[in-house]
């Protein structure tokens, strides 16, 4: 999915593939610029992907409620059991 999104990103006009018949030097520069831009975009997309994966995981992270009554209410709402910890200091 990540790869699909990456390679589906339309390239801006000035970084697009050179026109047929353009001088080799220009073409080479354009190709190089195009490759760099693609790499940048790939990095951005990867970072975005990682961020969204992290965000998804964070939503599943273990969070500790500090109120017994709230824990009871949450257990009633979700149907989950409660794992309750008593400790002397936070």
């Amino acid at each position: 999915m990540l790869h699909f999104e990456l390679y589906s990103i339309p390239m801006p006009g000035h970084l697009a593939a050179p026109a047929p018949g353009a001088p080799a030097r220009d073409r080479s520069l354009r190709l190089s610029a195009s490759r760099t831009a693609r790499r940048c975009l790939a990095c951005c997309a990867l970072a975005l992907g990682l961020c969204s994966a992290a965000a998804a995981r964070a939503s599943e992270a273990v969070t500790w409620i500090e109120s017994y009554d709230e824990a009871l209410a949450e257990a009633r709402r979700t149907g989950k059991p409660i794992f309750l910890e008593f400790r002397c200091a936070p």
């Binding site: 500790w64 794992f83 910890e85």
Partner: protein
Amino acid sequence: MLTDEDTKRGRLLRQYVTARITRMDRINIGLFDFDRYNTLYFFALNADEQIYLRYGGRDERSATTYLDLESLELALERGLDLHRRYLVGKLPRKPVPPARYPREIPALHERTVQRGRCVECHLIGDLENVQRERDGTLDKLTHLYRAPEIRRIGIELDIPKGLRVEQASGGAAAAGMRPGDEIRAVNGVDVWTFGDLQWELGKLPHTAKDLGIGVLRDGRREPLRVGLQPFWWLTDLTYRNLSVDPRVYFTSSALDEREKVELGFDPRGFASRVVSIDPLAELLGSHQLREGDVIYGVDGKFVDDVADTAHLYIKLRKQAGSEVTLQVLRGRQRMALALKTERMSFRK
């Protein structure tokens, strides 16, 4: 570490509503009753306040002897399994004990809630006994010794494996317990963790002569009858009941049997060497003991069923404020020294 979401433990914990309580002010201590001298203690329960299992418990060796991440995962798995059974009606409801709150214990309320202080677990343990003392209902041998040590009945667990027996000796071995057995029940009550096991043992009267332990062996339940020796319930008190009166302003360490005999004392006695003197002793004029003194008697008593040191003997057998005479060996000289015990200042 406990909540690392990328571990098996994290995945198990996410299937629970997780709650952490550090103040006991509004907690129903009747429902959540446990040995208050644990640093950490856990319960798995449901929204109907049916407790599936406990996780925690300690012994004299350490506060963390029975805390182990592998056995915690086993407990978490078991809790989820019990929850599934409860939801489909395959786990019978247990009676819920009467509710009780810290505010109902005047000594605790005065010392904590009224002063805006945290109601910590160990304070509940300490001040419940202070209240019993005020009410004249404190029975030190019952109320101070409440979380028996399984090793005294011959059970050594393979701790990461939960209730798997690593070694059986004494009464447990005599009953037929073997390494590899999985303890599953105590007197007919299912137990899933060391916390459950210690809790059920703690409910037995000290006069109990034996107990039923159900073990799982080769996939089959085997009922065992484990004999209990007198004083099977004894535990070390040095890490708990810190506010038990009277104050004696010294600590002592038991002599070994050989040393007692060499010094001419009863080998069953509580002869013990003074290892520390509280600076308050001089300030309060409590006693003139010195480190290294050997106390071999208190008011002419030399032996006690429970106490193995002089300071424990005084704590268990004397009232706060009483004056006693200590029989002391200092160097080669035997002498009698007076000791005036005190009451903790906050109780005056």
